[in-house]
């Protein structure tokens, strides 16, 4: 078995040392966001300013990175969340992680603050800290072009340099988007991390791995979602489905459908703007869109960006969405938080409270506004702080659409209430992924469980949160988990009686789902291509004894540890909340049930999680997971 090798780098003292990860820690936390949370918990004290020199930034990989396993290029950044003050994990499909491993390190633990703008260069095991004076001020692609193409790069744009709270970090054209990763790098005067090496990734059982991966790739290519729909339409294909289910945020989450949704749909994008599809390294799904902005081929928008810069600001122009997407990436800002903040600013103007020059339906000045936010110019300095900050300053908290301080993604939860529960309980804030993405079974997937039902949603939310935590923590793209949904259901379609029955069955299974976590890992002592092939793949890569049950418990462990970190930072059950627009104002005026009834779902959620009424993991749960803090 090969144990991970991290480097601990102090930018103040300009020193780097090896940081050993022992076998127990490796088997318990594996890598990625789960190991990142462990290290963050161990190496930091509560109460730190996320942008202070004492704050710790972890950039790490997972055993699967660089092995060629499907969709396994994803690496992680863990840090104290700039937006919420709790845990932050941010995931990216760029090549930096793979190259870091080839350079000889599984992760970097970065502390301190460089005296002047700098970049880290990690080449074949050697770590150098170099001046980034000439790169400071460059946008994301420009700074990456300063290094050889074959190098893995992770950079920030001007937004990170100016400490925009939702600044992101960019690797290639992929982004570690959420929570302010770019601001943390900027606060350390760290413009870039660059890596290159020739070390081959470690694979315990190479022959077994090659055979299994070949089968898994075929499986993904045969699946209707990963083999047909995602390559053809990308995630933007969700627009019409979300709209049909009243889950497409419109006019700052005032409504769930947009009359011009078709004009910004994935189908319209495919028909009129798509140059081709593409994807992350080693990904057979190829969901990325390639579009043209000012005649240059660039990465196209994901569903989140389409929703938040489309319907949510009442813009029906795909060219505007493409341009904004590109600009946000170049300047280095999270399109979700940026879009959500701008929508809130539009509402403030509409209410006559504050005028930032932005209005619903107006797009002619949008790129100018976005640039000013990135550089914190004039009044736009305030928009750089996010909607929670703005609401504190100007009021209208009910309309600031965030959870714990992080803006919500592009799923309106009032007719997808399990998604609402997920947003509220997500450890990193209003995230649809860390929140469990129950929209998949309520409003945007092939199966539709009653979107307004509260019974059964806590159990499903926990299951999805833990499973996605494991998949993400192991370094795989979450889209690889789509294959858990049987192919034949897509061949039947959402209107078929059997598919509808599956929706009812999911809710009816809440009793079983409610106790499954008490029985892990023994409940699922096997591996299966049809369930989570990630478990078997990890076993073949690492040599660790891994079953589906252990894999899912790994995710549960990570989720609980994130929670414990948040509580240590002073968060409580009160922070598992949503803005009043979503909990008190029915989306459908004629149906009072079209709100997120959090108080009906939270107690059961805590119970299924094995947490107390205060929302903190019980001693029994912590013992079960080996979390002895």
């Amino acid at each position: 078995m090969r144990l991970p090798v991290y480097a601990k780098i102090d930018l103040t003292r300009r020193k780097a040392v090896r940081y050993p990860i022992n076998q127990e820690m490796f088997e318990k936390y594996i890598g990625g966001k789960i190991m990142g949370s462990r290290l963050l918990y161990d190496l930091t004290s509560p109460g730190l300013d996320p942008l202070s020199p004492e704050a710790v930034l972890i950039i790490n990989t997972c055993p699967a990175n660089g092995t060629g396993a499907p969709s396994s290029s994803r690496f992680n950044m863990s840090f104290k969340n700039v937006m919420t003050g709790g845990i932050a994990t941010s995931n990216c499909g760029g090549t930096f992680g793979m190259m870091l491993k080839r350079a000889g390190y599984d992760g970097l633990i970065i502390t301190g603050r460089a005296k002047n703008p700098c970049y880290l260069m990690i080449i074949d095991g050697e770590i150098h800290l170099k001046s980034a004076k000439e790169f400071w001020g460059m946008e994301a692609q420009e700074v990456q072009k300063q290094f050889p193409q074959e190098y893995g790069k992770l950079v920030i744009g001007p937004a990170g340099e100016h400490l925009v709270r939702y600044a992101c970090a960019v690797s290639g054209e992929r982004v570690a988007g959420r929570c302010g990763a770019g601001a943390v790098m900027g606060s350390k005067n760290l413009k870039a991390c660059v890596a290159y090496g020739t070390k081959e990734p470690y694979i315990y059982d190479r022959e077994g791995f090659d055979r299994y991966v070949e089968k898994w790739v075929r499986f993904l290519q045969r699946h209707p979602m990963t083999g047909a729909s995602l390559p053809k339409y990308g995630s933007a294909g969700l627009v019409n489905k979300a709209n049909a289910s009243d889950a497409l945020p419109t006019r700052n989450f005032r409504k769930g459908s947009y009359e011009k949704a078709d004009e910004i749909s994935g189908e319209r994008l495919a028909d009129t703007k798509l140059v081709k599809n593409s994807g992350c390294t080693s990904c057979p799904v190829r969901c990325e869109r390639r579009v043209k902005v000012h005649d240059v081929e660039v990465k196209g928008p994901e569903y989140e960006t389409v929703g938040l810069f489309g319907s949510n600001i009442e813009n029906a122009d795909l060219d505007v969405i493409n341009e904004v997407n590109y600009l946000a990436d170049e300047l280095g800002m999270d399109t979700i938080s940026l879009g959500g903040t701008i929508a809130f600013a539009m509402e403030l103007k509409e209410q006559g409270i504050a005028d930032f020059g932005v209005e619903f339906g107006r797009t002619d000045n949008l790129t100018e506004v976005i640039r000013k936010i990135a550089y914190r110019e004039g009044i736009y300095d305030e928009l750089a702080n996010g909607s929670k900050w703005l609401a504190k300053r100007y009021g209208q908290e009910a309309a600031a659409i965030h959870a714990k301080g992080l803006e919500l993604a592009s799923y309106e939860p009032r007719q997808s209430v399990g998604m609402g529960l997920g947003y509220a309980t997500s450890n990193r804030g209003g995230c649809h992924l860390n929140g469990g993405y129950l929209a998949l079974f309520e409003s945007v997937g092939v199966i539709s469980a009653d979107p307004l039902a509260t019974k059964g949603k806590p159990e499903l939310t926990v299951m999805l949160q833990n499973t996605m935590e494991a998949v993400s923590g192991a370094g795989f793209c979450l889209f690889t988990a789509y294959s858990m949904i049987p192919s034949f259901l897509f061949r039947l379609g959402p209107s078929h009686w059997f598919t509808k029955f599956c929706g009812k069955a999911l809710l009816a299974a809440r009793g079983v789902l409610g106790i499954m976590w008490k029985l892990m890992p023994g409940l699922l002592p096997f591996n299966s291509m049809y369930l989570l092939p990630h478990a078997q793949t990890l076993k073949l890569i690492t040599g660790i004894s891994m079953t589906t049950g252990k894999f899912m418990q790994l995710g549960e462990r990570g989720y609980n540890l994130e929670r414990m970190y948040n509580y240590r930072e002073g968060m409580t059950a009160e922070d598992d909340a949503l803005p009043e627009r979503l909990t008190k104002t029915p989306q459908d005026g004629g149906n009072p049930d079209t709100v997120v009834k959090l108080q009906e779902m939270l107690p059961r959620y805590y119970q299924v999680r094995g947490w107390g009424r205060d929302g903190y993991p019980s001693k029994q749960k912590r013992r079960q997971l080996g979390l002895y803090e």
């Binding site: 995630s235 933007a236 078709d262 889209f479 379609g493 209107s495």
Partner: protein
């Protein structure tokens, strides 16, 4: 007349982006597709996400959803995201 709009594979199977049809409900529209374009197009249409004026039919009567003059019925491919 209602408007039937086809997307994705259904567009290829029907050779059309849209057409008009005077049917009373979704079931009749599906029968029309089967008669004119064949079984494969019918199967593809049935498993699509079917919307009437932008709203999914699951909560409006499924295949029995009534349609009226000028209604827009879309047969959309199922998509993924996250």
């Amino acid at each position: 007349m209602a408007y039937l709009k086809y997307y994705g594979e259904l567009r290829e199977l029907t050779g059309a982006e849209q057409e008009t049809y005077p049917g009373d409900d979704i079931k009749e529209c599906l029968k029309h597709i089967k008669t004119v374009y064949g079984k494969e197009a019918y199967a593809e249409a049935k498993r699509s996400l079917i919307t009437v004026n932008g709203k999914g039919i699951l909560n409006t009567g499924n295949y029995r959803t009534r349609i009226q003059d000028q209604d827009e019925i879309r047969f959309l491919p199922l998509c993924g995201g996250g």
